[in-house]
Amino acid sequence: MDILSYSAVELAAAIQSGTVTAVEAMEAVLSQIDRVEKDVHAYVTIDKTAAMKAATVTHEKIKTGELTGPLAGVPMALKDNLCTSGLRTTCASKMLENFIPTFSAQAVLALEKAGAVLIGKTNMDEFAMGSTTETSVYGETRNPHNTAHVPGGSSGGSAAAVAAQECFFALGSDTGGSIRQPASFCGVVGLKPTYGTVSRYGLIAYGSSLDQIGPLTKNVTDCATVLELIASYDAKDSTSIQRKDTTFTSALIEDVKGLKIGMPRDYFGEGLDKEVKESVLAAAKVLEKKGAILEEFDLSLVDYAIPAYYTIAAAEASSNLERFDGIKYGYRTAEFEGLHNMYKKTRSEGFGPEVKRRIMLGSFVLSSGYYDAYYLKALKVKAMIKKAFDAAFARYDVILSPVAPSTAPRLGESLSDPLKMYLGDIYTISVNLAGICGISVPCGRDTKGLPIGMQLIADSFQEKKLLRAAYTYEHAQKGAE
């Protein structure tokens, strides 16, 4: 079997059994990168020497029996907003062009401890602000299924790297759909965990109350396996939650008998591409055949999620990004007159247009005289949205919907009208506002050959329900092929 076609868990098993070594796996992935990276451009930084060295060290530890975990020896990619000690972390921004973190994100440490081997850092929208990976200062990433199209975003590099076999799995971050939407566009599995499940320590903040790190993988088994390793309480993240039920791989069961699935009519209405709709409805039928109970319902408030989200996310971004001031790290303007001029010039030259747009909006909605009317109002709407989900989950185990209204748009189509681009987040964004969990699972392709994703959403701490339903669907599909 070709090494590259292994899933992460299959590769680790092959490495444990001795048929493949961690070094061979890394060599295979690096030569794949040599072949396809010029077309896909999934990575911002690849340190081949360090990757080979790490693979060799890991190989030795596997040989001596020190590393036996389900991802030991598996090459991985990390979104470039996750700090990696000693390896440049840019957030795809000029602001952090030369930033070398002095520590690694907690989720990264957990994976490295388990023996996963870092290949490099993946491209993204600048500071995770965008839905296409086109706002990266290092150039756009292209969809491996059709390079005239975007991979989605903001974790577009991670999704594309998994889809193009340039890694065996990747981590991304999801603030409004930034894992699930690119996963859908690139035909891979992506999960946004319940808020507080994965430590945000070392994740460069965008919207702190919404951000979560999560896996992008080739299949549902890999997804559960990665999540199980990165989910843990961390005292260094004050929003981290102590969970007891993090044995996510135990949910990899082919059984949805009696599982109550709600399908929000508001997520299947106007604006949804016909092919996407048909594909997602067909996927729902597969689960129904397996014994799940489907029911349509009205989730309500759907049209209010995007305005509430962009208010809150922009407000938090404007505050979080104040730290980029040209003093402690990052870019500093060449010429300036005095401290304040240095701040302003540094930030104006270091940030791209979309980042500045959100900082401006965020500063406005938090400013005196507008705070109540915008920011506080959005927080109240957030409470209403959370309540709507509570009501839904009183009746259903899982909500099923599309991930995005369309498949991946063509390159260059989205940035001219930011508001239109924001509307593409309509089915994913509420999940972040409500702090609950969601997964994107490939469920077909459109006539252009671009992947379509189905989204499953569950209440806080119910990732196992998502994984069980997703796993059942995935296996039913495999059987059908």
């Binding site: 109350s209 509430a308 001029n341 104006s348 965020g362 702090g435």
Partner: protein, 97 residues
């Protein structure tokens, strides 16, 4: 279209955001922000008078710890990321005239 975003607003927000925008950027910012705020005004369709604002979905409490250094001395690496450094300190432009 409500014209609450004036040139003065953009100037003021630029000060708050510590951004120095070119004239073109200002024009664009004015247009983008007006458009976004008109869209955000949709929230006013909802009666939220009895709703408590929700900043976090879970009831969060402050997390306290003893004021003890647990990480090692990383000042050398930290300073290496600084755009300006002198005598083991961050170098900043003159703050007081």
């Amino acid at each position: 279209m409500v014209d609450r975003i004036t040139d003065e607003t953009i100037e003021y927000v630029g000060v708050l955001a510590k951004l120095e925008l070119s004239d073109d950027e200002k024009r664009q910012a004015k247009q983008d922000m007006s458009k976004m705020l008109n869209y955000i005004d949709k929230l006013n369709e909802l009666d939220t008078s009895d709703i408590e604002p929700m900043s976090h979905v879970f009831a969060l409490q402050n997390v306290f710890r003893a004021d003890v250094v647990t990480n090692g001395d990383g000042h050398r690496q930290t300073l290496e990321n600084a755009p300006g450094e002198k005598n083991n300190m961050f170098m900043v432009p003159k703050t007081f005239a």
